[in-house]
Amino acid sequence: MHRLLSFASLYSPMSTNGNVIDVHDVHKTFKKRIKALQGVDLQVGAGEIFGLLGPNGAGKSTLVKILMTVVRPDRISGTFLGNSVGSKQPLARVGYLPEHHNFPGYLTGLQVIEFSGAMCRLTKRERRTNARRLLDRVGMTRWGSSRLNSYSKGMLQRVGLAQALVNDPKVVLLDEPTDGVDPVGRREIRDLLLELRDEGHTIFLNSHLLSELEMVCDRVAIMVQGRVSMQGTIEELTRDSRRHEVRCIGPCPDWITALPDATAECLEDECRISIPTDDVEAIQPIIDRLRKEGRSITRVHAVRESPEDLFMRAVVDESGTIAAPGAEIKPRRGSGGDAP
C-alpha cells in the first residue's frame, strides 16, 4: 500500500483531479481600497491551453502574479502544481512571461535566456543548448548575441517567450504574449503554443484578443471586476445562445409567436425567424409550414455567438450596465459627494 502511494505520487505531481492550477476563493485588495480580486475560482487542467479573458483592470495579471508569488494574496486556497500557492517549490517547473516585461538592456538575447535557466537551477550545458534551441524556435537565431537595447518590441516579446520556456516547464503562464507582435509573429506564436500543447505543456494565457484566444484555447474563463463570471470551453459557453435563423419573403407569419421562444422580425420585404435551438431537425417542421404557405425561403443558417458577443454578455450585468474598467474601489471615508 505504502509503495503504491509513493508510486502514485511520483507519477501524479498534480492534484488528484488532474488540474495543474486549482485555486479557490482568491482575494486581493491593494492599498486597502482597490479590490483587485474578490473570490476567484479557477481550474486549469493538465495539457490544455487555457485563456483568461477580461476587460482592463479585471485582475487577470494580478491572478497570474499571485500564482507566481510576485503578489501576495489576502486569501487563497487550492494548489498550483500540487503545492500550495506561494510556495517557491513548483516554480522550477513553471515558465512565466509578465506583461510589460523589462529585461536589462545590457544583456544579449542569449544571456537573458541563460540567466532565466540558471535561476531555475539548470546546469550550464542544459542552459546553453536550450537557449540556442529556443532562440531558433522563436525565430531570433540571428539576434542571439545582440544586446536587448537594439531589439524592437516584438523581438523582445519573442525573447521573453523563449526565456519562459528555457526550463522545459510543465506550465507556462503568458501575460499578453502577443502584445506588440506583428500579424506574422502572432501567427508564429499561435503555432508555437499549439506545438507546445502537443508536447504536453499546459499553457495559461492572458489576453484581450478574443479571436486569437478562440483560435488556440481549449478552455477560457472570463473575469470581470475581480470575479470569474464564466468558465468552460467556448463551445460550452456559447451553447445556450446557439440558434437557427430562417429567412423568407413576405410578412411575418402570426403563428410563429405560438412556438416556444421563437421570434420573428420583419425586415423590408423579408421576415427573419429565429429559433433558439442548435438541432437541425427541430426546425424542419417550420420550414415545411412556410413552404406549404407558398413562401420562398431565402436562407437557413445556424447562428453561433461570436466570442465578442460572449465577452460582452459577460461584461454586462443584469441591469444592463457595462462594467467599468478597473477594479472595484472602496470609497475613501470622508470623500465622495453623497456623504450625509
Binding site: 502574479k65 507566481m68 510576485v70 503578489v71 516554480l91 545590457y106 544571456q111 540558471a118 535561476m119
Partner: protein, 371 residues
C-alpha cells in the same frame, strides 16, 4: 549555487555596461601611477623631473624613510582621499541604481517568479552589489603594493588589509542606499538620501572630534592651572608673613583668580564630558565610516615610526603674564593616542550591527511588499 553565480555574473555584466565603472578604474590606476612618479631623497621630494627641496620632508635630516613615505601616501592620499572619498561617490553613483532597477515592474516579476526565496535574493543581490568596490579597491591596492615595492623598496603585504576595510566602509553606505532603493524605487532619491546620511555621519564624527579636541585642550588648561595654583601656594608658603595683605595681597589675588579659573575649567570639563558622552552614544549607533578607514593607518603605520613623534611629552604652562600656553605637540599626540585606543571591535562591531539592522529592515520590506 548556480543561482548565486548567475546573480554574480549578472552584477558583473551590469558593471561592465557602465562607463563610469571603467572610468573609475582608469582613474584609480592613474592615481597609483602618479604615486610612482613621486620620489623622496635626502633633501626633499621629486615629482617626475622636478626636485623640490623640503626641509621637513626628506630622508636626510627630516627623518623619513622611503617606506614610510610611500605608505603614508597610500593611506592618506590613496585610501583616505581617493578611495574613501572620490571613488566612493563614483561608486555610489554607479551602484545606486542597482536596487531601484532590480525592483522595477517587469524585471522584478521575472526574478521573483524563480524558485529562490526573497530573503536570499535580497541578500545575494546586496552582496553582488559590493562587487564594484571589491574590484576597484583590489586593483588599486594591488597596484599600490607594486609601487610601494618597487619605489619604496619594501614589499608590504599588510596594506592588503585595505581591501576588507574599504569594502566594509562602502558597505555601510551601500546598505542604506540599497534599502532606500527598495523603499523609494528611485535612483536619485536613494542616492541623494544616502549622501545626506553620509554627510550627517561626517558631521557627527567631526563634532565628536572637535569636542574631543576641546576636552583635551581643557584638560591641559586644568593641568596648567593646577600647576599654577600649586606654584602660587608654594610661593605663599615660603613667605614669612603670608597674611600681610599689603605686601602679599597680589599673591592672594592671583591665587584666587587662578583657583577660580581652575574651578571654571573643571566644570567646563564636566560639561564637555557630558556632551562628548552623548555624541559617543550617537556614534555608537551610527556606522563609523571615518574610523573604519583610519584603522588602516593604525594597522600599517606605527606611531613611533613617524618623524618627530619621539619627543618627551612636556607640560602646558601658565606663563608669568598669566597666559595659558597650549602644548600643541602633546595635544596632537594625545588626540592620536585617544583615537588609536578606540577598540576596533567597537568601531567595526557597532558599524556592522548598524548595517545588519538596516539590511534586515530592507529584507523585511522587500519580503512583504507586492510588486
Amino acid at each position: 549555487m548556480s543561482q548565486t553565480i548567475a546573480l554574480l555574473i549578472d552584477a558583473y555584466r551590469l558593471l561592465n555596461a557602465r562607463k563610469i565603472f571603467w572610468i573609475t578604474l582608469v582613474l584609480s590606476l592613474l592615481v597609483v601611477s602618479s604615486f610612482a612618479l613621486v620620489g623622496i631623497h635626502d633633501h626633499g621630494i621629486s615629482i617626475a623631473w622636478w626636485d623640490l627641496e623640503i626641509p621637513e620632508l626628506n630622508t636626510g635630516s627630516g627623518g623619513w624613510s622611503k617606506e614610510l613615505f610611500y605608505k603614508i601616501m597610500f593611506t592618506e592620499l590613496g585610501i583616505k582621499i581617493w578611495l574613501a572619498w572620490v571613488a566612493t561617490i563614483l561608486g555610489l553613483i554607479t551602484t545606486a541604481s542597482i536596487f531601484p532597477e532590480f525592483v522595477t515592474a517587469g524585471s522584478i516579476d521575472i526574478i521573483l517568479s524563480k524558485p529562490i526565496g526573497r530573503f536570499r535574493l535580497f541578500f545575494t543581490k546586496y552582496l553582488t552589489g559590493l562587487l564594484f568596490v571589491i574590484l576597484q579597491v583590489s586593483v588599486f591596492t594591488g597596484a599600490s603594493f607594486i609601487v610601494i615595492g618597487i619605489r619604496g623598496g619594501v614589499w608590504e603585504p599588510g596594506i592588503f588589509i585595505a581591501i576588507p576595510l574599504v569594502v566594509l566602509f562602502f558597505s555601510y553606505l551601500f546598505s542604506v542606499c540599497a534599502v532606500l532603493g527598495v523603499i523609494t524605487r528611485s535612483t536619485i532619491a536613494s542616492l541623494l538620501l544616502t549622501i545626506l546620511f553620509w554627510f550627517i555621519i561626517f558631521i557627527v564624527q567631526s563634532a565628536e572630534r572637535s569636542l574631543l579636541f576641546f576636552e583635551m585642550m581643557n584638560e591641559q588648561r586644568v593641568m596648567a592651572y593646577e600647576d599654577a595654583v600649586d606654584r602660587t601656594r608654594q610661593r605663599l608658603d615660603k613667605v614669612e608673613d603670608p597674611d600681610d595683605m599689603e605686601r602679599w595681597g597680589f599673591l592672594h589675588e592671583t591665587l584666587d583668580k587662578r583657583k577660580a579659573i581652575l574651578e571654571e575649567s573643571e566644570s567646563t570639563a564636566g560639561n564637555l564630558d557630558t556632551w562628548h558622552d552623548g555624541l559617543m552614544f550617537v556614534m555608537t549607533v551610527l556606522p563609523k565610516t571615518g574610523e573604519t578607514i583610519e584603522l588602516l593607518q593604525r594597522w600599517t603605520i606605527d606611531l613611533a615610526e613617524l618623524p618627530g613623534s619621539t619627543d618627551e611629552p612636556s607640560r602646558p604652562i601658565i606663563d608669568d603674564d598669566d597666559h595659558f600656553r597650549l602644548d600643541e605637540d602633546r595635544l596632537g599626540q594625545d588626540m592620536q593616542t585617544a583615537l588609536r585606543n578606540r577598540s576596533p571591535w567597537w568601531i567595526l562591531g557597532t558599524s556592522f550591527i548598524f548595517e545588519l539592522v538596516v539590511l534586515c529592515f530592507g529584507a523585511w520590506r522587500f519580503n512583504r511588499r507586492d510588486f
